[in-house]
Symmetry: D2
Subunit: 364 residues, 4 copies
């Protein structure tokens, strides 16, 4: 992978610790506050009429999510924490060497974050790298504030990009490792999960028209916390904002839920993936035709989950143009009645010629 | 309701305690045993080459489910326990007075059950009433046998019948009370939930072609037990036997899952409905167009759930003929794009003329 | 049991549905409100400067707990709901025939309750019986109000009385059934659990100096809800108000926790006992020397749990005198190093003469 | 810390990934197998008459626990995985420079592990470092094998040593970081938690007579899994082998349980501590007199938990002599009625001179 890149470039990659926060542009700040604070229970670190800084229950850095009021709903920055102040320099040099536009701000782009660099990365995403941050109260044992659907950590980002192998090679150069992917027997890669911290991912690449933000994901402690979020959205009569789930992922093994904020930004609630910290952590490859890959129970993925995503901004704040994916689409090869998806390999349980279980076709 | 019946009949209704067991005819006893014992973990009270007697974890009567080998998959008996031996006499007289065929067996129709009467009820279902039963070990504190998806109680039956108001009146005469129902503004009743014990139901009537068995339901202690059943079915690569769910019911408020046994008999796994034991327990009526009625999170009901069901047998063991429902079908008025279903009433959140959230239409 | 009573009395017992509410006198209404509303999350139906009416999440009658400001902390009424208005008459007659003082109020003793009778029962407890009550919003699906430690139902009362067999006979005459008890081989009864609704108890009798209120118990849906209450009390730095648990009861099999309100009134949080609705539900008898009877995991009962309890009031509002128990005390025969308690019967695992596991002795 | 060491030594520390396995000597292999396999459900990778290799559900290396039959119950090795094969060389050199006895085996000391070095570390513990290991089936999605109390990961070791500051300095030199500790105002350190992977610890140091093994800890997914282990031990009538808990730790915030294997080796079951992967993860210091430090709910620590521990072996297989702790003991300053422990600071809730809540004194 990316052999030519390895030959060409000399700058050392920054030592990335983890995904740390997302900056989202929202068109109605009050509506977004109602969603993220009143419904989901994220904690406000600080806020004014233009921006709200939110964090999860067990976070000790200033924020995991910045909601900024703006004219076009979009993702303005995918921010990663690096290990040392010098890693910000390394990040700047690494992208500069690749011809990417970069912008350095010693005082940070947002409150609570110090010296940072933002870049327009080779895939067109606005990435940020920082070390300095304000520590705030970690609420871990503030059970007096713990709600029934409490979000305890930021877990990951998920990005839509047309060329997954290209994106994967770039992120591997940047120091990410691949925990899982979805492929087919023709060698097409449909998605890849990439990590720095010791979980299944800090970000994932989903094949599709991009660059776009697919979703941001927060963790809960247990599965019942996710069920409570569904129950609460039902009680508030906004169940139409539950897009997909809850379910158990095949990939990552996590219990999951996808919901939509007032601008249509997608949020995943996620719990109980697995430890990936060993150097030889095995990479799991899934067949795109395995209909338990995205939902271990075989429940179908809704089409909107494949097609809808959020715009991302360049460093001037303008939306990046969206490039169409040219490879096969996962939705086309699986949701349609193509006869290639399976619950189990035909030889295991079926008579020759017998239909294998494929739940989606039974639904509508 | 059923005013004419009240005038005409004199026999006292038996005092029914609860739904107690279902007798199912299965075509491949080994396959059914693998499903109910190995996958679901029901406990074998006794078994031979023709019949298996199964019970749930907290049961102290002989069984909750009888699997009997036979040529045609069907439900052979819906058995209710009555309060005293004399209530068996009362049941016999009550049905006889209504012109129903009855059969009394002092030694019971199946092992572990004594003096019983079976009837072909006014809706065509094979009902049984008994008091005498063999007590067996209640496994309540046998946590050494407790599996991660343990089924702890039989909760209810669900029956498909063409004319729900007629069935409801009959069961009310028999002493059942209605906890919830689904109606529309034209006065059509689509389903009703009827109880004797202090839960939402011992049986429910679902409008459709019948008489047929819609499903039998077992309870778990907690929601994670149900998720484990899904996870295990995924691990066994039989996720195509997960038909619907897991989800939260609107009606009953229970957390639920529907799965299919090797013959296609439907089993619900169910937990956490509510107490109905007060004499004035309020009846809840749902609008058939409320798309949170069957799933509180607005997830669509799969069509097979409306259309598929199991045959029931007459007292000679022959399948009862299925009569077509003439009233409107719930599936037709809700699954189709009729524009009448809603997540919330339009006036609450929407601008005039704006579409209200209706998730199903977004799916395929 | 109580053969003489059966011979002597003629009045029919009222048909009791369930324990319905407790009236508690508290000395600092604001402190009690902070405990029951802010910490435990009970829902206020109405309140003024003197009285607060509280209900659990799934309740539809006016209240389950009345907090009334008064000079002496005590229980003023143990109120049961009966099946019909006429059962209030029956209750009045039943107690009158036994020479008990009764007081009838057609408009109820507290808000939200209609025609009621209060009695000073044969054990000295203030019992109330009512049918009429105001229906209020059942919050069952108001998950927007659901807190992480939500109390969903009133489960039972627990009363301290010196002579358990006498109390048991009286309550059996009144229509209660016994689900479980604790005895020894000398025929001493230490405690008994009595039910009307289909759970392990509506009230229990605990042997000790009485009449006193041992505790009132509320249910949660799942075990994690109880753990959250502990965690929250830790966060509020009131863990010294956690008296005992959490644990798994031997008797009842419920997962439990005992906490103390600002006046020292004891509250149990309780979940997942079992169904008792069948007419021949087996009664379980525990040996007082079985050290898993009160905690299935063998964790010791703290002495205060045996010795402390709340006064109860007579119908004039004066505390009933406390009569000392003359039978052996459960604490004395089990907590002390008497060598008679056991984890398992010696013959099962041990060599002859070997000590069987008894955890308490290892602790201090 | 350890300034002199930093001056004196030159060898680079190995890059330790995580605690990986413990080798335990047990005196009755069948009894130990019954405990770890039948009761706790660990998975056998391989076994013979002398040794059993066990792993947790989500493990992909050969084992997390080796049970080896021997004459004296003891811990034979605390094994850590390192990042590269060269880190084994580094470990060997690092300890050799410190004058510690080392032994290198290219084929490993146990099955499934390749090139390894074992050392007698400065505290007297037998530590092992390895990179090479056989990969085995990761059971993560084998929910058909998932039991109700499933242990999913090895979490940490806990070691008893007389001089905690000395041990802490040594482990910090070796590359560990401190997440939490327990101190008093006199500067005595009672315990410290040290991590390499991104959790609260890979090992902890508990002040006491040592070197001894305090416990090995496995994780579950959720809290109910731990409760099930208690329930199962109750069902098996071995509740006397439940030593302490379940409870919520103050330190680490994890939900915990301590149980004892047939030789008295202590096992902790543990879930839901927090992420520590950021470079500036805050260290939490607890006051030894805070009675929520070891149990967030204020439940007392049983004395045996402070005093009992397992011997450790030298590289010849002989027990290391136990050295008595000279600093103050945590048990002495907290369990006794010394009046210095508190639930909350007196000024918060109490009147001057009033007693603060201290639960232990109320117990016996």
């Amino acid at each position: 992978m990316s052999a030519s890149a390895a030959e060409t470039f000399n700058a050392a990659a920054p030592d990335i610790v983890r995904c740390a926060y997302l900056e989202l542009v929202v068109t109605d700040l009050a509506a977004s506050r109602a969603f993220y604070v009143d419904v989901l229970g994220l904690h406000v670190t600080e806020e004014d009429d233009e921006v709200i800084y939110l964090r999860s229950f067990e976070e000790f850095i200033h924020h995991n999510l910045v909601l900024r009021k703006g004219p076009v709903a979009a993702a303005a920055a995918f921010a990663y924490r690096v290990r040392t102040p010098e890693d910000v320099d390394r990040a700047e040099a690494w992208y500069a060497e690749r011809g990417c536009r970069t912008e350095r701000r010693r005082d940070g782009f947002v409150k609570g974050i110090g010296d940072s660099v933002r870049v327009e990365d080779p895939l067109g995403f606005p990435y940020e790298f920082f070390y300095e941050t304000e520590h705030v109260e970690r609420l871990t044992q503030r059970y007096d504030l713990y709600n029934a659907g409490e979000l305890v950590r930021l877990d990951h980002f998920n990005q839509v990009t047309p060329d997954v192998p290209k994106g994967r090679a770039y992120l591997e150069d940047l120091g990410f490792k691949v925990s899982e992917d979805i492929k087919d027997s023709d060698g097409v890669t449909y998605a890849a999960w990439m990590y720095r911290k010791q979980t299944v991912h800090d970000t994932a690449l989903t094949g599709g028209d991009g660059p776009r933000l697919h979703h941001i994901a927060f963790s809960t402690h247990e599965k019942h916390n996710i069920i409570q979020i569904c129950d609460k959205m039902g009680a508030l009569r906004i169940s139409d904002r539950i897009e997909r789930g809850p379910g158990r992922h095949g990939v990552s093994n996590a219990f999951y839920l996808y919901i939509l904020d007032p601008d249509g930004h997608r949020v995943e609630i996620y719990t109980q993936d697995y430890y990936t910290g060993d150097p030889d952590n095995p990479t799991v490859s899934w067949d795109v035709h395995d209909n338990q890959r995205r939902d271990w129970w075989g429940n179908p993925v809704v089409p909107s989950w494949y097609t809808e995503a959020s715009l991302v901004l360049d460093l001037d704040g303008n939306p990046q143009p969206v490039v169409v994916r040219e490879d096969k689409s996962e939705m086309a090869v699986t949701v349609g009645a193509d006869g290639f998806s399976y619950t189990r390999q035909p030889s295991e349980f079926e008579e020759p010629g017998e239909e294998v279980g494929f739940k989606l076709g039974k639904q509508l």
